[in-house]
C-alpha cells in the first residue's frame, strides 16, 4: 500500500485514526499493538508473503537485542552477537536484493552459466533492515533499552509511516516514544499539515516530473534531442527529490499524528553550493546512518590520509549499493566519493567564500548532482528491466544520454517532443524550482510578523486555504489515477 493511493487515504488511514483515537485512547499498550497489526496489514496488502520475512527479521532482532543487553559487559560475547546480528540482517538483504546481481556478475566475469533465480525484492527491505541493525547497535551503545516485548520491536521496525520509504528512524530517536509519547491536537494538526505538504509534493510535482523523465529516458539515443535530454534529466532531478522528500514529509506527518517525532530527512538539498553540503541536506537519515554505523567505526577522519580515503571509498560504494543492485548505483556513489575527496582535499567550502562565487559553486554542485541522477536513473531503469526478465546496460545508457545532453551525439537541439513536454509541465517546472528553495518558511516567517489585523486575517485565511487547496488538488490527482509510480521498489 502506498500513501498516495485511494485505499490508504480513504480506507486505511480513516480506520486507523478512528480506532486509535476513539476506541483505544485509554491504553498505550493496546494502541501500540493495534499500530503494529495495522502496519503488518499495510505491508501485507502489497507483499502478502514477504510480511513473514519482515516478521522473521523482527523476531531475530528482538532476540539479538535481549542477548546484547545481557552480554553487553562481556566484550567478546557482545562482538560475537553483533557479528551474528549483522550476518543475519545483511544475509537477508544480500539474498533478496543482491543475489541476482552477484550471480550475474559471476557469470559475466567467469564466463560461467550459473542459472539466475528470479528473486522478488521485498519492498522497503533496505529500510527495515537498517532499522533492525540500528536497534541492536543502539542497545549495545547504551542509547536505548532492549525491549522485552517483541511487539514493541515489531512496532519500531514495521511502523507503517516509515516502513517502505523511510526515513531510517534510529532506535535511539524513538526508543522512549514507544511507551512515553504524548498525542496532542497540536501534534496531530502539525502532522496533518506535514502530510498534506508531502502528498502535494508527490502527486503534483513528482508525478508530473516523472512523466517527462520516463519519456526522455525510454527514448532510444538517436531520437533524443539535446533539449529533451536536459528536460528529462532536470525532471528526474526534481522527481526524485519531491517524491522522496514528499514520502518523508508524509511519513513524518503520519508519525506526528500518532505522537511520534521522527528526525528530518531533507533540508532543501538543491540550494547546496558543494557536494559536501548536498549530502548534509539530502537523505539525512541515510547519510547519518552510514556516518555513525560505518564511517566512524572504520576510524572516521582521525586516521591517516590514505586510510581516510579508503574509509570514504567504502562508505560511498556502500551508499551507492544500498540504493540498488547495479553497477550504475555503485558508480553513482563513487562519483560523490571523488568529488567529496576533492572538496576535502582543496578545502572547497572554506575557500571561494566571496558571495560572487556562490552562483559558480551552485552551478558546479548542481551539475554534479544532475549528472549523478542520470547515472542513478539508468541504474533504476536497468533494475526494473531485470525484474521484468529483460537485460539492460545501465552504463551504456548513461553514456549515450550524457553525450546527448552535452551535444556530443549529433542530436538536434530541439524537437516536438521537448516542446510538448515543456507545454504540459511548464507550471510544474516552475513550482519545482521555486519550492526547491526555502521560500515557504521565508513567507511564513514574514507572515507571522504582520501586526495589522486585516493583513493578519488575509494571511491566515490564505494559509488555511492554501493547505486545503493543495490537499484537494492532490486528492483529485490520486482519484484520477494514471501515472503514480512507486520508485523505491529497489531500495
Amino acid at each position: 500500500m502506498i500513501f498516495s493511493s485511494e485505499i490508504f487515504l480513504f480506507l486505511f488511514l480513516p480506520i486507523v485514526l478512528f480506532v486509535y483515537y476513539c476506541i483505544l485512547f485509554k491504553s498505550r499498550t493496546l494502541q501500540n499493538l493495534f499500530l503494529l497489526i495495522m502496519s503488518l496489514v499495510f505491508y501485507a496488502y502489497g507483499e502478502p508473503w514477504f510480511v513473514f520475512v519482515m516478521m522473521l527479521s523482527i523476531m531475530c532482532n528482538w532476540a539479538f537485542g535481549l542477548l546484547i543487553d545481557k552480554f553487553r559487559e562481556n566484550k567478546r560475547a557482545a562482538i560475537a552477537i553483533i557479528v551474528a546480528m549483522l550476518g543475519v540482517n545483511l544475509g537477508i538483504l544480500a539474498y533478496f536484493k543482491y543475489w541476482m546481481f552477484i550471480l550475474g556478475n559471476i557469470n559475466y566475469f567467469t564466463g560461467s552459466y550459473i542459472p539466475i533465480p528470479k528473486i522478488m525484492l521485498p519492498i522497503g527491505i533496505s529500510f527495515f533492515t537498517f532499522q533492525a541493525i540500528s536497534y541492536v547497535i543502539d542497545i549495545y551503545r547504551g542509547k536505548g533499552q532492549a525491549q522485552k516485548n517483541p511487539l514493541n520491536v515489531g512496532l519500531y521496525i514495521a511502523f507503517f509511516p516509515q516502513l517502505i520509504a523511510g526515513p531510517i528512524v534510529r532506535y535511539e530517536t524513538i526508543a522512549d516514544q514507544i511507551h512515553n509519547r504524548k498525542s496532542t491536537f497540536d501534534d496531530f494538526s502539525d502532522g496533518v499539515c506535514r502530510f498534506i505538504v508531502g502528498l502535494g509534493k508527490k502527486m503534483l510535482i513528482a508525478n508530473s516530473m516523472g512523466v517527462v523523465a520516463d519519456a526522455a529516458f525510454k527514448l532510444p539515443a538517436g531520437e533524443l534531442s539535446v533539449t529533451m535530454a536536459w528536460l528529462g534529466a532536470l525532471a528526474y532531478t526534481f522527481q526524485i527529490y519531491y517524491d522522496f522528500s514528499g514520502y518523508s514529509d508524509m511519513a513524518i506527518g503520519l508519525g506526528r499524528m500518532f505522537g511520534f517525532h521522527f528526525l528530518e530527512n531533507f533540508n532543501y538539498p538543491y540550494v547546496s553550493t558543494s557536494i559536501t553540503e548536498f549530502w548534509r541536506r539530502w537523505h539525512m537519515s541515510l547519510s547519518s546512518f552510514f556516518r555513525d554505523y560505518v564511517y566512524i567505526p572504520l576510524g572516521g577522519n582521525r586516521v591517516s590520509k590514505p586510510r581516510l580515503i579508503l574509509n570514504l571509498f567504502v562508505v560511498w560504494a556502500l551508499t551507492g549499493l544500498w540504493h540498488g543492485a547495479d553497477w550504475a548505483f555503485v558508480l553513482w556513489g563513487l562519483l560523490f566519493f571523488v568529488f567529496l575527496v576533492f572538496e576535502k582535499s582543496v578545502g572547497f567550502e572554506k575557500r571561494l567564500t566571496s558571495p560572487w562565487f556562490v552562483p559558480l559553486k551552485y552551478v558546479y554542485a548542481m551539475l554534479i548532482v544532475v549528472v549523478g541522477w542520470v547515472l542513478f536513473k539508468a541504474g533504476f531503469d536497468a533494475n526494473q528491466a531485470v525484474m521484468q526478465g529483460e537485460t539492460a546496460n545501465s552504463l551504456a545508457l548513461t553514456g549515450s544520454y550524457l553525450q546527448t545532453m552535452f551535444g556530443m551525439s549529433g542530436a538536434p537541439l530541439f524537437d516536438d517532443l521537448a516542446y510538448f513536454h515543456w507545454h504540459e509541465t511548464r507550471y510544474f517546472y516552475l513550482f519545482a524550482v521555486l519550492f526547491s528553495f526555502p521560500l515557504v518558511p521565508w513567507l511564513v516567517s514574514k507572515g507571522d510578523q504582520i501586526k495589522n489585523p486585516v493583513g493578519q486575517f488575509v494571511y491566515s485565511s490564505a494559509y488555511v486555504l492554501l493547505f486545503c487547496f493543495v490537499f484537494i488538488i492532490a486528492v483529485a490527482y490520486v482519484v484520477k489515477g494514471g501515472y503514480n509510480p512507486f520508485i523505491y521498489f529497489n531500495f
Partner: protein
C-alpha cells in the same frame, strides 16, 4: 491567528474530507451490488466459479472478487454514469478543471493516452504495435472458417484522429494509422477488408462531425455509412439483396437517448458539454426478436428477451452475446458479427437485412467461438473493430 490554530483548522478540514470520502467509498460497492438485482450478482459469481481456469482456493476467491468487480463495473453500461464514478466525480471535476486551465493536451498517462485534439474533441492516441499478434489470430480464424466454406470480412472501425487530416497536438505521436495499416497489410491477402477511412479523404471536416466530441465512437450516421458499404460489398460479392428502403438514412428517424462520453466522463462534468447518443428508428414496419443466445454461457445475465419493433437502444447496448431474428428480412441468411464497442450500431442495422444475426462482443465474451460457429453455422462472419485491439484474444482458440 497563531500558527497552531491555523494548522488545527486545516487538520479538521482534511479529516472531515477523508471521513466523508471514507463513508461514501465504503458505501458505493455495497450500493452498486445491492441496488440491482442480487440474483444477477449470484449468477455472475456462479459463472466465474464455473468457468475460470484457476481452481485453487485463491483462484476461487479471485473469481468471486472479479465477478463482483465485473458486475459492478459492467452493470452501468445500461446507464449513462456509473454510481462509483458519481462518487468520485467531484474529485475528477477538480482534476479536469486543473487540466483545463493548464491547457493540457494529454489527459491520461496510460499506454493509450487520451488527448485533446486541436479541434477540442477528445481522442485516444495509440502506442506503437506491430499488430502481428492480432493478424495471426485473425488469420487463424479465417483459416478455420475457410475450411467450412464460411466467408470472412473485416470492417475497419475508423479512428477519430483522421488518417488524412490528423489534429494531433505537436509532440504527440498517434500510432493508430500506422498500426491499422500494418494490420491491413498483414491480412489483406486472405481477408477482405472494408476500409471506410477513405470516405472523407477530401472532406475531413465531415469526418470529425461524425464523431462525438467527448467520446471515441462514431455517431450513428457514420455507422450507417459503414453499414451501406458492407451491404454494397456483400451485394456485389455474394448477391445479397440490399433493399432500397435501407439504402437511405431518410427512411429512418434520428432520436437521442442517454449520453456518449466514454472519454469526457473521465474528466468530469465541467470539461466538455454532454452529448446525447444518437439512434435510428426505421420509418417502416419491423418485427424482430432479440434474445441472449441459448447456447452461450453468459457471464452476466441480461434481461434481453424482446419481440417487437426494431429498437436500437436495446440493440446497441454492448451485450457479451446476442442473437437477433428478423422474419421480415429479405436475406434468409445467417450472419455472425464479432467486434468491439464500435460494432453494435452496425450490427443492429444488419439485423434489418439478415434473418439471423448473432453478435459476440470482444471484451466480455467468455465462451468458445469455435463451438458457437459450429452450432450457428453462419454464412458470413463479419469483424468490426478498431486498431486499439492489438491482441484479439477472442480469436486465440483458433490458433491452438
Amino acid at each position: 491567528m497563531h500558527n497552531a490554530i491555523k494548522k488545527k483548522i486545516v487538520a479538521v478540514a482534511a479529516v472531515t474530507i477523508l471521513a466523508f470520502q471514507f463513508v461514501v467509498q465504503s458505501c458505493s460497492p455495497v450500493y452498486s451490488c445491492f441496488s440491482q438485482n442480487p440474483k444477477q450478482l449470484f449468477y455472475a459469481i456462479c459463472f466465474h466459479l464455473k468457468h475460470d481456469s484457476d481452481k485453487s482456493f485463491c483462484g476461487k476467491i479471485n473469481s468471486v472478487v472479479a465477478s463482483i468487480q465485473g458486475y459492478v463495473s459492467l452493470k452501468p453500461l445500461s446507464s449513462a454514469v456509473n454510481f462509483e464514478k458519481d462518487v468520485n466525480m467531484c474529485w475528477i471535476d477538480v482534476y479536469a478543471l486543473c487540466a483545463k486551465y493548464q491547457g493540457l493536451y494529454r489527459l491520461h498517462h496510460t499506454k493509450d493516452c487520451i488527448v485533446r485534439l486541436l479541434n477540442g474533441s477528445l481522442s485516444v492516441c495509440s502506442d506503437y504495435s506491430d499488430m502481428v499478434s492480432a493478424s495471426q489470430n485473425l488469420l487463424s480464424c479465417e483459416e478455420f472458417l475457410n475450411e467450412r466454406g464460411i466467408s470472412m470480412l473485416y470492417v475497419i472501425a475508423p479512428h477519430k484522429n483522421y488518417k488524412y487530416h490528423p489534429l494531433t497536438p505537436r509532440g504527440i505521436i498517434d500510432y493508430e494509422t500506422g498500426n491499422m495499416n500494418r494490420l491491413v497489410s498483414q491480412i489483406k491477402d486472405r481477408i477482405d477488408v472494408i476500409d471506410n477511412r477513405e470516405l472523407y479523404k477530401n472532406n475531413p471536416e465531415e469526418h470529425y462531425k461524425l464523431f462525438y466530441i467527448g467520446d471515441s465512437h462514431w455517431k450513428i450516421q457514420y455507422a450507417f455509412l459503414a453499414y451501406c458499404q458492407i451491404m454494397q460489398y456483400l451485394e456485389e460479392r455474394y448477391s445479397i439483396e440490399f433493399e432500397n428502403k435501407l439504402k437511405s438514412i431518410e427512411n429512418f428517424s434520428v432520436y437521442s437517448s442517454g449520453v456518449s462520453d466514454d472519454l469526457s466522463e473521465l474528466y468530469g462534468r465541467f470539461y466538455l458539454p454532454k452529448e446525447s447518443t444518437l439512434y435510428l428508428k426505421p420509418k417502416f414496419f419491423t418485427n424482430i426478436k432479440i434474445f441472449s443466445s441459448n447456447n452461450v454461457n453468459l457471464p452476466f445475465i441480461y434481461d434481453v428477451d424482446y419481440t417487437g419493433d426494431f429498437d436500437m437502444t436495446i440493440l446497441c447496448k454492448l451485450y457479451p452475446t446476442l442473437k437477433v431474428v428478423n422474419p421480415e428480412a429479405v436475406n434468409k441468411k445467417k450472419l455472425m458479427v464479432i467486434g468491439d464497442s464500435f460494432s453494435p450500431p452496425v450490427m443492429s442495422l444488419l439485423c434489418l437485412s439478415f434473418e439471423q444475426v448473432e453478435f459476440h462482443a470482444f471484451n466480455y465474451y467468455r465462451d468458445s467461438l469455435i463451438k458457437n460457429i459450429e452450432e450457428f453455422q453462419p454464412d458470413c462472419v463479419l469483424c468490426i473493430f478498431s486498431s486499439r485491439q492489438t491482441e484479439l484474444p477472442i480469436f486465440k482458440e483458433f490458433s491452438k
